[in-house]
């Protein structure tokens, strides 16, 4: 059972607290601050901290710490998952979860926390149910409240979906335009060694949906090549048996935005890495260090590489870099020693090596310090639109249960999560 929750901002200020049971004083957070002060990086704070009588479990997201206090044994993952779910709900309600948005909506925050946990036990965590119980803030409602003077944001009937077999969908949804959008997003995880050999690569894929369909639609989504999907996790709405038997996703969707499935394609399946980076980095005494990068497309299947960014954390002894790119913009932060080269688009047909974007220049080292032992790691980010790198394609989406004909669209994006595509130099 979760006893209390403290929300702490980046400046170590407890700006909100909620107790589901007997109040626990704010001073308990001192243990957390102590652990925090030992870590240089906010991400290094241990997720579970034991104090003499309580156990603190924290998450760090959107530069906020959510610290839950427990007094008894409870699986830490349960709490972590729940804290992230709270954060998800806040993001859904206020479109962002920051200190300001939480402070502006403290009443709704409090009502939500009250509804999500009953004396420390999870109650309603589906945003669709919560939205029926507690209406999210929006401008229209604020206006209406001012005009009519009736400014409650609490519903007085139990959401019907709470009792149904499908707690994730509201009843009586109506849209004039019935639309269903599916974003098939794949993130590449890769490590490439200095010789250009792929050390490891994995794909993490998601189907994020934005479904605005009236009534109770029953959707079936089938893939061209479902056998690629080996390890999948589903939104509770997906019928597992249908997937096991026929490899189709059959589901009654929640209303609005949600993640239908996420899947993982492991390192056993080789994938084609869509770009390559040629590098020549040499640290020398004084200002004669060399830095050269050339980026080129590779097996992009005719698509354009977009939003290509290369980042690099230089060793501490680097004083400055004088680098000139042939394309895009290059900045070096001499304090954080952080180099960013924002390249932008790389057309796939510019095969002529001369036109490939490159970055050249010198590195100035602090004199007197030893040369860095190793070259820095390059973090690459890029986006490929209209293609899923694993080759997964949606074959068709059918709808049953409702008479109208919806618009159905699917979008494919291949991208890289920050820091997950690394090139060792």
């Amino acid at each position: 059972m979760i006893h209390s929750l403290f929300i702490i901002n980046g400046a170590s200020d407890v700006f909100m607290e909620k107790h589901w049971k007997t109040v626990i004083g704010k001073s308990i957070c001192d243990y957390f601050f102590e652990a925090q002060s030992k870590c240089a990086n906010p991400e290094d704070v241990p997720p579970v901290i034991a104090t003499p009588h309580h156990y603190l479990i924290n998450i760090y997201r959107n530069s906020l710490y959510f610290v839950a206090v427990l007094t008894h044994e409870l699986p830490p993952l349960f709490v972590l998952e729940f804290l992230h779910r709270i954060m998800d709900v806040f993001e859904d309600y206020f479109s962002e979860c920051t200190e300001t948005s939480l402070k502006d909506n403290y009443v709704i925050v409090y009502e939500l926390l009250d509804e999500m946990l009953d004396s420390g036990l999870p109650l309603a965590t589906e945003t669709n149910i919560l939205k029926e119980l507690i209406k999210p803030p929006n401008i229209f409602r604020k206006m209406a409240n001012i005009v009519t003077g009736d400014n409650t944001n609490i519903s007085n009937t139990l959401p019907t979906s709470q009792l149904s077999n499908i707690p994730w969908r509201r009843m009586g949804v109506r849209y004039t335009n019935n639309e269903a959008y599916f974003d098939l997003i794949e993130e590449i995880d890769a490590i490439i060694d200095r010789n250009g050999v792929t050390v490891m690569n994995e794909i993490q894929g998601y189907i994020d949906c934005c479904i605005k369909l009236s009534g109770m639609p029953d959707l079936t989504l089938s893939f061209v090549n479902p056998r690629l999907l080996d390890d999948v996790s589903f939104h509770p709405c997906v019928r597992l048996k249908k997937w096991e038997g026929e490899r189709v996703l059959s589901f009654i969707p929640p209303d609005g935005n949600f993640r239908l499935i996420s899947y993982h394609i492991g390192s056993q399946n080789a994938i084609s890495i869509p770009l390559y980076v040629k590098h020549n980095i040499q640290f020398r005494e004084g200002s004669s260090g060399r830095f050269e990068l050339t980026v080129g497309p590779k097996q992009t299947m005719g698509k354009t590489l977009e939003a290509v960014v290369i980042e690099c954390s230089m060793p501490k002894s680097v004083l400055n870099c004088t680098l000139t790119p042939t394309q895009g913009k290059c900045t070096f932060d001499p304090v954080k020693k952080h180099l960013v080269w924002d390249i932008g688009k790389i057309e796939s047909n510019t095969q002529a090596a001369a036109r490939l974007p490159s970055l050249r220049g010198n590195i100035v080292l602090t004199t007197g310090q030893p040369l860095p032992e190793s070259n820095p790691v390059l973090n690459v980010r890029f986006t490929l639109n209209q293609i899923a790198i694993s080759g997964i394609r949606v074959q068709r989406v059918d709808m049953h249960g409702e008479k109208y004909k919806p618009f159905k669209g699917v979008k494919y994006i291949t991208t890289v999560k920050n820091g997950r595509f690394q090139i060792r130099t």
Partner: protein, 788 residues
């Protein structure tokens, strides 16, 4: 507030906080501070609260609501709003749902501090419990059970008992949740509560079951007999319970399986040593036909059912559920089946950082016991340079565990890059990991040692120091073969500056001075020169070196040793002084204790046991995987070990139910959800079974109706085409959060020409054509994509 009230509050809060010294302490200090602050800020504070009070007393709903919101704001910020209690509680009768709700929130926060006043609100709740609206009934019960006022225990008991029989499953669920709260307030009611739990466990609605099991876990986890009759139903319905309920049920079922079934892995051991239970085999032969032949172990069908029903949950989006299933398999499944959890656990490694940390830690223990299951996923544990330090550490640990003769070369190459990473601490850990690989896999010991010696020529001090420390440990394990390496290290002694590394080198010289008899005295000479400037740990080793050299080669070193001992005699550190005294007595004052001095060589150069290069995580294994205690490495309050499997299975007939309920999964039956809920939400649970089977029929109907639907869709199609074009503008507006509408490939869209060409003849042929066209179309579109 009167003085009496305040003292009452304090004592009440002290009682409540019996388990938390620190929190109680802090509360106390708050209370003490208050009187002081009242003098100075009281008037201002009072004024501020006064206007809220006035707003609360007014008869305008708007003002009241605003006031309540401000009060909640104060609570949220952790400010004390306790003095507003009477003004707030009055508003509990408000018709406005939000005011009511906020008053509830206030009550839950302050009721236990102002118990007498809180009693005033009880009547409202009792009325609320009889309200026709189920939401109001449920929330009345929720608040009533959450205000933690001991005097109303009997009222709570009554309310729970009534609500457990409520028509609405939502209210019953709330009742189940309330049981744990009441039990915490008054443990004496256990027996009465168990009666209610028994009833709720058998409830036919999935919604209630999760909470009922939760209550069971809180109140009477030892009454495993209550589960028997519900076991099969819970297993079958598991997929349909909500995520958090699944967690509780999974924990309960894990424990259940450990008490009711036999160990599926035991047969292997029994093959080897059957002496272990002779009389037991006899017993089983009589009692249980299933394990008649011990050699061919047949799993209890209920045990199998559990494993089968929990497997789909590995695909849950909730990491805690996946982990709990993994844990269940780890503790309950036969060894040959554990591997199925690996893939899902690997998937969790893409989740949030905190979740990764916990999952990795659990994988470490699992991999330690069952290396083979994570072998194929080796590369998933490769470290990215921006992983958090905990994640890096556990990944390194897992890689070390998974290392074997066949994959060691890739792992070592990987480790080598880690060593040079800018994160020094991680680099040091990587060096230790190499050392552990070297000690566990004899094939690569030599290669690892050479690699480590290579690292010693790096310029970075921490790398050199760590390498020396690890090499020292490795040499200790097998010193005979590596004389060259020892010589190489000794040459480094002048360059290495990190104390631990220097100490390690000196120890090595002392220990193996017979191999480097030429160097050793010279090293001591150099050390004697700089003795006063060294760290304690190094001084200690200089003393050791001196003593050992004296024993081996007293002629050459006598004066040097005397000199070092004299320096050490006046050292600032008392440990050093003590040690000098001891060594001096041992070596130079043979007359005082001849027995010892005779054996000085044996004492100083006794063969020492080689150190074990082990990870620190191993010791956490005593706690159940994935629990809080496991993560923090100490027993948390309320932690209970999983029981061991019983030597013989319980009678499986206890789980038989007279009428086996139709267990239909919602995932199959929710096709026609409109029928699933009657508008009022009040479902007669009695007819559940019928109603489920109705649905199944409906589902079948729907599928047979398929072709008709298709036809209708086609007819609509033509109209649709025109509409879609005009719709496009609207679409762009409607999806603001998407980049561009035209990025979406429209699914199942047919170009108008195709529709025109389509002849309107018989249904069946049309359907076939259509599907063909669909396929060709999709192919076309892919072709186009690739050409672009």
């Amino acid at each position: 507030m009167s003085v009496n009230d305040r003292s009452l509050t304090t004592s009440a809060s002290m009682n409540m906080q019996g388990f938390g010294n620190s929190s109680a302490g802090s509360n106390q200090s708050d209370e003490q501070v208050e009187p002081a602050s009242t003098l100075s800020i009281f008037s201002l504070d009072m004024k501020k609260h006064e206007d809220i009070k006035q707003m609360l007393d007014s008869n305008k709903e708007n003002l009241k609501l605003d006031a309540m919101r401000r009060v909640i704001g104060m609570i949220a910020k952790g400010k004390d709003a306790g003095d507003l209690f009477p003004a707030v509680v009055k508003n509990i009768v408000s018709k406005n749902m939000e005011i009511k709700k906020l008053v509830y929130v206030y009550l839950m926060r302050y009721a236990e501090e102002q118990q007498d006043l809180a009693l005033l609100s009880i009547a409202t709740f009792q009325r609320g419990l009889k309200d026709p609206n189920q939401l109001i009934r449920a929330s009345a019960l929720r608040v009533l059970s959450s205000i933690r006022v001991p005097t109303i225990v009997s009222i709570m008991m009554l309310a729970i008992r009534e609500s457990a029989n409520d028509m609405s499953p939502y209210v019953r669920k709330t009742a189940a949740n309330a049981i744990a709260k009441l039990y915490a307030l008054d443990p004496e009611l256990k027996d009465e509560l168990i009666v209610i739990i028994t009833k709720l466990l058998a409830d036919k609605t999935i919604l209630v079951n999760g909470s009922a099991v939760q209550a069971f876990e809180h109140v009477c986890p030892d009454r495993i007999d209550l589960i028997h009759k519900n076991y099969r139903r819970l297993c079958n319905l598991l997929v349909d319970i909500d995520e958090w309920g699944q967690l509780t049920v999974l924990h309960m079922l894990t424990r259940y399986a450990r008490t009711q079934f036999v160990d599926p892995n035991k047969t292997y051991e029994d093959d080897k040593k059957s002496f272990y239970d002779d009389n037991e085999t006899e017993k089983n032969a009589n009692d249980d036909e299933e394990s008649l032949d011990k050699k061919t172990y047949i799993m209890d069908s209920d045990h199998r059912l559990l494993l089968r029903c929990t497997k789909p949950l590995l695909q849950s989006r909730n990491s805690a559920v996946v982990m709990t299933v993994a844990q269940l398999y780890y503790y309950v499944a036969p060894r040959s089946e554990i591997h199925i959890v690996a893939k899902s656990l690997i998937r969790l490694l893409r989740s949030h950082r905190e979740i990764q940390t916990i999952v990795l830690k659990s994988i470490t223990s699992m991999a330690d016991k069952h290396k083979e299951i994570f072998g194929p996923f080796l590369k998933s544990f490769y470290v990215h340079s921006n992983d958090s330090s905990h994640v890096k550490y556990y990944k390194l640990e897992i890689l070390t565990i998974l290392a074997n003769a066949s994959n060691i070369s890739t792992i070592l190459r990987e480790f080598h890059t880690y060593v040079l990473s800018p994160d020094k601490e991680f680099g040091a850990q990587a060096i230790h990991a190499i050392g552990r690989c070297a000690s566990t896999i004899p094939e690569v010991t030599e290669a690892c040692l050479n690699g480590l010696v290579g690292l010693m020529s790096k310029k970075d001090e921490t790398i050199v120091a760590e390498s020396v420390v690890v090499i020292k440990k490795l040499l200790q394990i097998n010193p005979s073969q590596y004389g060259d390496i020892i010589k190489h290290i000794v040459r480094k002694v002048d360059k290495v500056t990190v104390p631990t590394a220097r100490a390690s080198i000196l120890w090595l010289i002392g220990e193996y001075s017979d191999r480097i008899s030429k160097f050793a005295p010279d090293v001591l000479r150099k050390m004697a020169k700089i003795f006063p400037d060294e760290e304690t740990i190094v001084k200690n080793q200089i003393l050791n070196l001196a003593a050992k050299l004296y024993v081996m080669n007293s002629k050459q070193t006598n004066l040097l040793v005397q000199y070092v001992f004299n320096l050490a005699k006046y050292d600032t550190n008392y440990d050093i002084r003590d040690k000098t005294r001891l060594l001096r007595a041992l070596l130079f004052q043979a007359d005082k204790c001849p027995a010892l001095s005779k054996n000085a060589k044996k004492i100083l150069l006794a063969p020492k046991p080689a150190p074990l290069l082990e990870s620190i995580i191993r010791h956490h294994d005593q706690y159940t995987l994935g629990t809080l205690s496991y993560v923090i490495g100490q027993a948390a309050t309320g932690y209970k070990d999983l029981p061991d499997f019983p030597p013989e299975p319980s009678d499986s007939s206890v789980r038989n139910v007279e009428i086996i309920p139709v267990s239909t999964s919602q995932h199959d039956s929710s096709r026609n959800p409109k029928k699933g809920t009657t508008p009022g939400g009040k479902k007669n649970t009695g007819i559940d079974e019928n109603f489920f089977s109705d649905e199944e029929e409906d589902a079948e109907d729907a599928s047979t109706e398929g072709p008709d639907d298709e036809e209708e869709e086609n007819e609509e199609d033509e109209e649709e085409e025109e509409e879609e074009e005009s719709d496009e503008d609207d679409e762009e507006q409607s999806i603001e959060n998407k980049n561009k509408t035209n990025e979406y490939e429209q699914l199942d869209a047919r170009s108008p020409t195709i529709v025109e060409n389509q002849p309107q003849n018989s249904e069946s042929s049309e359907e076939e054509e259509e599907s063909e066209e669909d396929e060709s179309e999709s192919e076309e579109s892919t072709d186009e994509d690739e050409q672009v």
